[in-house]
């Protein structure tokens, strides 16, 4: 089906609540599923980001070098980028670490609060950036859907509008 819209979702520094909310759109999911191809997402098993997708929903702020590299790459391979939820748009709860130096954050997380294996993160854990930043400060974003998480109906209306070739006209709020 060549005219199916290619959609990706990506999960940066967030709690996955926005993805849950996305799934919360109930039966509309089935209608949408007919029209889209979910080509890359934590919800599907596909390791590589495709060459070009039509729409990417991004949840979470840009917190590590890995996040940054990922979103820069995705931006290059997606036509429309939609920032989904407060973490992607403002930094939100994860940004509460921004007032502390990274070393203090790691000390707290990996040593003070650890019951076993009290040691700094190993090499495979991506290096944290000094501060979490909203996605649009790293790459251009086309659509913003704030909310923590954005309610299912808001996501639904936005997707339906986009699939109809219109920019979503919703009045969502932070939090």
């Amino acid at each position: 089906m060549p005219d199916k819209v290619k959609v990706a979702t990506v999960w940066l520094d967030g709690c996955s609540g926005c993805h849950m909310s996305f799934l919360d759109i109930d039966h509309v999911l089935l209608d949408i599923a007919d029209k889209i191809d979910l080509v890359y997402s934590p919800l599907v098993d596909n390791k590589d980001f495709p060459d070009m997708v039509d729409l990417t929903l991004v949840e979470g702020g840009v917190s590590s070098v890995d996040d940054r590299a990922k979103i820069i790459k995705i931006r290059k391979h997606t036509k429309l980028l939609l920032a989904l939820g407060d973490c992607a748009i403002t930094g939100n709860v994860p940004a509460m670490r921004n007032r502390y130096p990274v070393a203090a954050v790691e000390e707290r997380a990996y040593i003070e609060n650890a019951d076993v294996n009290q040691r700094p993160p190993s090499l495979v854990v991506p290096k944290l950036l000094p501060k979490i930043q909203p996605v649009h400060t790293v790459v251009p974003v086309d659509i913003y859907l704030p909310g923590c998480p954005p309610p299912g109906p808001v996501i639904r209306d936005a997707l339906v509008a986009l699939l109809n070739g219109q920019m979503p006209d919703v009045s969502p709020r932070f939090g």
């Binding site: 403002t90 939100n92 709860v93 940004a95 007032r99 930043q133 859907l145 709020r173 939090g175």
Partner: protein, 237 residues
């Protein structure tokens, strides 16, 4: 006898006593003007700049809350330029503090959050400043989270003008400004606080709140103070 002036707001003919402000007359006529520092019953300070309006013949914008009505003036409340400035003001408030609506006691009952929604602020291009601000939970009934304070000074004014305690005032200046109790004393140790709770009731955000309120539970008690007439209630009425 106070002379009455007739003038126009957004083309609509209105009238007001000469000691009334543009804002009062706009509200009277159900014309929406956003405000955050203003609250009916307390002296206007003209600080938040959200209610700025255009007046024909003047190239300066004027704060509706602090501008008296004049005969024949033609007021515009909602030009594109004003909308743009208002959104920017709200964005400034969001970036200067740490407003994390999702975990705030006032989520869903916050004037800042509500105005952002109403004026269509869905993100900001300004730089989040992520300041290191304090939380004072020393008091047994109330708490203040400076991360959520927008320095509207409603608490300072209600405490000084209505309660007469003047427990609150602003310390420091510029981006470092902060509301304090007494000599920056922990709230619990304040010698002047009467624990009346007026400050908590007038706070437009979740900065001042009653303890034991969880996320979204800090609802203002409309009956508590008869003069607690915020723009929000007026607009929703």
């Amino acid at each position: 006898m106070m002379p009455v002036k007739t003038f126009k707001i957004d083309g609509q003919d209105v009238s007001g006593r000469e000691d009334e402000t543009i804002l009062e007359i706009a509200r009277e006529n159900d014309i929406f003007l956003p405000t955050l520092c203003n609250i009916a019953g307390l002296k206007p300070v003209g600080a938040c700049r959200l209610c700025m309006v255009e007046v024909a013949g003047s190239n300066k914008l004027l704060p509706a809350c602090a501008t008296r009505v004049q005969e024949g003036m033609e007021v515009t409340t909602n030009s594109e330029r004003l909308q743009k400035y208002r959104r920017m003001i709200l964005e400034m408030l969001f970036v200067e503090g740490n407003h994390i609506c999702s975990v705030c006691v006032a989520n869903g009952h916050c004037e800042l959050q509500w105005l952002a929604e109403k004026l269509g602020v869905d993100h900001t291009r300004l730089n989040y400043m992520f300041p290191a601000k304090e939380v004072d939970v020393s008091h047994y009934r109330y708490a203040i989270d400076h991360n959520r304070c927008i320095l509207c000074t409603r608490c300072v004014r209600v405490c000084a003008e209505i309660e007469g305690a003047h427990t609150w005032d602003v310390s420091g200046r510029g981006i470092e400004a902060k509301v304090v109790t007494d000599l920056n004393t922990p709230w619990a140790l304040s010698e002047t606080c009467t624990e009346c709770g007026k400050c908590v009731q007038v706070c437009p955000t979740g900065a001042l709140f009653k303890k034991s309120r969880a996320v979204g539970e800090m609802v203002k008690d409309g009956q508590f103070l008869p003069y607690l007439k915020t723009m929000r209630e007026v607009d929703n009425a």
